[in-house]
Symmetry: C2
Subunit: 643 residues, 2 copies
């Protein structure tokens, strides 16, 4: 109440409504270490209802994390440890960034999968840690939670328990204006175990959680019938309490009703003692874990080695060279070349796990040397996410957050729209997820406009901290993986073709390290009238157009820009060498053109696509949309003449 009041902004209702449950969960069940927030043996606590951040901050403060009373007083202020919604990386003990509803739910599923996998991969059952969390009706209304629940039930995750804060209040009124699911039945349909309890009867909470956690044999939902803003005489059970301060007078009344002194940020001594006692218990538990884990390592050198390969991994010396060899230089679809590179990458990066939203046979992202993760069988490295792109993204984030594995997930580029909120969160959290999106242009062909990306490459580039890579051939595919797998501060997206692309010719003496600089001069031309800039499948088109132009007496240089973000981050000298300022640059990409103005200076010098595609064979579409060598050469000539 006090922190929200002081910030004059925030959500007091949920923290008050869930305080009883959270207290029991943290004081009796959650295994964690305030002294070592990254303790391997810890349970993950996920507050999917991230707007209830003050509940989490209060728990972290009381538990002894680096969250002081002063930090609580800085709630929602610039660069504080207590931002409006929990932000991973900003506050010790915050396991994931939540707020956009449903994401935390699915992150937790990812963490639970990762813990099962870490235990199975190493053979160390102690590592099968648990995920405990709190979810709201908003989380359960979002489709992503249904996807994640279905996947969790399929995998029979016996290390996942969520308490559902069933307060029956939503922002616009009572939940019964829009939500009347029988949640228990629904989750049983997903093969979860379901319990019910009164969220304000401590004995019942203790009994129920003890029973549920004692019998965790599949994912479990505990429906806690609660009252939002519990303890506030005037605002309990009221939608107003969801997202606005209670008001000074109501805070005063609530404290009176709760028997608390009228003093801001007051913590009763008895509460401090309870948490201090719990901290002692937890530290003893951690010490026991460390001792047992050390013993396990001694007795299981093979397992310990595998564990080190996951948790203390350093990439091999020359990843690029190895992946270049794996990619080869043959002409093929970049998705096929990617499929070859992945096999080598999986050997070099034991942390890599690969999954697909039911399109692995098309995206070619299965790791062949391993098996599929299934219920009770977590030693494989291939994940079947099902037709659940959104959950795939958020589960990948959960796997990355857990820390033992680096997740790769694939689908068609056009369906990246289904998982965009999860990609954005990967970028905010700086997670090294690898998204592989194939069928990356109009050249999808017959499947038509619903399956042909037009705006997707461009709009993914707009998400801050995302690297979008659109490789043109085998060497560029190899470099894209070298980049993505070694990136540590954010996600990478690979956009790959369905159709075959030619192998590019590079000048003798070409420095392969330039493949990692986002853009490079592929083909020089003395006395050139301009530079043709292209990505992915359009690079070979640019080369073909340049050849035609040369036949007509106009020479142009060809530059490949597999990753615009990385190229723009190069030093000015390099950028100017690739794109000499005096020479007009013309960009060619089979998608929305606007973003290329930043290189060409004008929309008139970008050859792109601004309307939806159509159902027809790819070759026909290339003709109709002007992406043949002749059509491109013609337009380049016009553009150069129009100067």
């Amino acid at each position: 109440m006090d922190a929200v009041e002081k910030a004059n902004s925030g959500h007091p209702g949920m923290p008050m409504g869930m305080a009883d449950v959270a207290a029991v969960l943290w004081l009796e069940h959650l295994r964690h270490s305030p002294k070592d927030p990254h303790w391997l043996g810890r349970d993950r606590f996920v507050l999917s209802a991230g707007h209830g951040s003050m509940l989490l901050y209060a728990l972290l403060h009381l538990s002894g994390y680096r969250v002081s009373l002063d930090d609580l007083k800085q709630f929602r202020q610039w660069h504080s440890r207590t931002p409006g919604h929990p932000e991973f990386g900003e506050t010790d003990g915050v396991e994931t960034t939540t707020g956009p509803l449903g994401q935390g739910f699915a992150n937790g599923v990812g963490m639970a999968i990762a813990a099962q996998m870490e235990a199975a991969h190493t053979g160390c059952s102690m590592l099968k840690t648990r995920v405990l969390g709190i979810v709201s009706d908003g989380d359960l209304m979002e489709g992503i939670s249904a996807e994640a629940a279905s996947l969790a039930g399929h995998l029979q995750l016996d290390n996942l328990l969520y308490v559902y804060d069933d307060n029956r209040i939503t922002i616009d009124g009572k939940t019964d204006i829009t939500f009347s699911d029988d949640v228990a039945v629904r989750f049983r349909g997903h093969h979860w175990d379901v319990y019910q309890m009164n969220a304000h009867d401590v004995a019942e909470i203790e009994r129920t959680l003890t029973q549920a956690l004692g019998n965790l044999r599949r994912p479990t939902l505990v429906i806690a019938r609660s009252h939002i803003a519990k303890g506030s005489p005037g605002k309990q059970d009221s939608p107003e309490a969801h997202g606005a301060p209670l008001g000074a007078e109501e805070v005063r009344r609530a404290k009176q009703a709760l028997g608390l002194p009228d003093e801001p940020f007051y913590v009763p001594e008895a509460v401090r003692e309870l948490f201090a006692k719990r901290a002692q218990v937890l530290e003893a538990e951690r010490a026991r874990f460390e001792e047992r884990f050390e013993a396990w390592r001694t007795h299981h050198p093979e397992g310990a080695k595998k564990h080190a390969a996951l948790r203390a991994f350093t990439p091999p010396a020359d990843v690029l060279t190895e992946l270049l060899a794996a990619a080869g230089t043959e002409a093929a679809a970049t998705r096929v070349l990617s499929g070859k590179v992945i096999q080598k990458a999986a050997a070099l990066f034991p942390r890599l796990v690969s999954g697909s939203a039911d399109l692995a046979s098309s995206t070619k992202t299965d790791i062949k040397a391993t098996t599929s993760v299934q219920a009770g069988m977590f030693s494989g490295r291939n994940l079947h996410f099902g037709v659940r792109e959104h959950a795939m993204g958020a589960v990948m984030n959960g796997i990355a957050l857990h820390g033992a594995f680096q997740p790769l997930g694939s689908t068609f580029l056009v369906f990246s729209d289904y998982m965009r909120p999860a990609i954005r969160l990967a970028a905010i959290m700086k997670l090294p997820c690898v998204f592989v999106f194939t069928h990356d242009s109009l050249m999808v062909g017959e499947d038509g406009p619903t399956h042909q990306p037009i705006e997707h490459v461009a709009s993914l580039r707009l998400i801050p901290n995302v690297h979008v890579l659109r490789p043109a051939d085998g060497p560029e595919v190899a470099a894209a993986y070298a980049h993505a797998l070694q990136r540590t501060d954010g996600p990478s997206i690979l956009c790959l073709t369905r159709q075959n692309v030619p192998a590019l010719e590079r000048a003798p003496g070409f420095d392969v390290r330039d493949l990692l600089r986002g853009g490079y001069l592929l083909q020089d031309a003395p006395g050139a009238a301009g530079t043709l800039v292209a990505t992915g499948s359009e690079v070979s088109l640019a080369v073909a157009a340049a050849r035609l132009l040369q036949e007509r007496g106009t020479t142009v240089r060809v530059v490949s820009v597999p990753c615009l973000e990385v190229f723009l981050a190069q030093d000015e000298e390099y950028r100017r060498a690739v794109l000499p300022p005096g020479l007009p640059a013309i960009a060619l990409e089979m998608g929305r053109p606007e973003i290329w103005c930043s290189l060409t200076g004008s929309l008139e010098r970008v050859i792109g696509v601004t309307r939806f595609g159509a159902s027809a064979p790819a070759g026909v579409l290339a003709e109709k949309y002007g992406f043949t060598p002749a059509a491109v050469a013609e337009r380049v000539q016009q553009m150069l003449a129009a100067r």
Copy 2:
């Protein structure tokens, strides 16, 4: 089989697996009119599993729609009536564009809601037509279908029935590698009625569908245990049959097994006769409907008038003037101004229905003079979509497709990511949906980076055929609604502020019709050194910066561009008058800058945001991110000097 074979591309498995069910549905239950595909009294058939398009085209052909055998032979070819996935507007009898999974499921829910509403609004129960469809396991794995099913169950739609093609085969193998939901239990949890049947026992299909449709008292799922590629001796029950031609030899074998001659595109005479007979029955039914409907109109002049207002609506003469009066000229948040305009718009446009994903109290989109749509009560015009943005988008599409209403839906701009696939389909289908997205910049403040849009305005502009409007004050909000409500060939998106914005001063003699031209000169300045271009809340910031610059001796013009797409579509003369080519243009928008290069020629002349936001009061963020009048004036001066 033959069409897919001829195209050498497509999905034969689903059409073959669902042929028995579809035949019974179309020959015995579906009310429609091949002679009048837009018949008011028709049931809507939704093929949510759009990849099974050949099933639908075959049914349309046999039923007598304008789909000839030649059209079937043109399957998946350029500009044919039989594109790879069903496309609304391209083929008579195709009620919605499907393919991206789950969308059709939710479109059908929207159509069913709209039919209930049309009946309730007019008092004509005959208009409560039904929605019948086929959905696949892919549809049911997508979260959007869970959201839509939950909403449909909440509203107890007694005019919606889906057959679930339970073929247990998915692209990557058997569904049991990833999908083990008890679908019947799950849907009962959503308060649906559930039936089960064998998809290949015609008597059982007849019995089940007759029973289910005879007792339709809530949304109903009929689980049809089927075999993909039924009838193909070698490929039945095989994942290969999903998305690739069977192959000439297998087609031959299948025809042999089915007792059909080895002749492409052969239709048995008995089948033709069955469908011809059904067509006669349907035409008689349509004639009866028309007669009864005419009688209803005669006896219910009030209802008939209301019906005409929905179905034969022409907008009033001067919408803009009326809405300008409603908006007023006071300083307020544009979401608040929008709330005022909506009330007037609802009076002028009886077709307008408004909903929100549980944020109406923040987005201010409720229509005050009406009630909420609830189970059994469909006479209101406010929809509670719940925290289900994705279903909201697709349900809106369904409402628009139904044809009686124009849907408006609202949430926070950052959550537009959750519904992007539905927005894209609205654009592809040219539906006049109105999406209202508030809290449109960093100025969201304390809620932090997860709630602060950075890339959203820009990335929505990239979807072809979407008009993104970001109004700056009351008059611009009025104009945005005038535009969106009168647009007939695609969706409009309004981006509105959370925070207050000042009322802009316009020169005497300002022509308000310029508000509809996407961009206009707000403030001239003789001898200006440049033009400052801004949108939304940044227009008043540009005005304030211009004032500071003037004090320092630099004059700049100020241009407001509430809708870039509309502005770029104006004639060159107008555009040049607004942005004289000789004068440097500098763009100012609190979001990704790249798209503005198309006006400024250079990224160096755009003031935008390229990194994520942070949790802090809005005023602090304005300081930190350089969006104060002083900071903007400073940067403009530098930019003008750098020329």
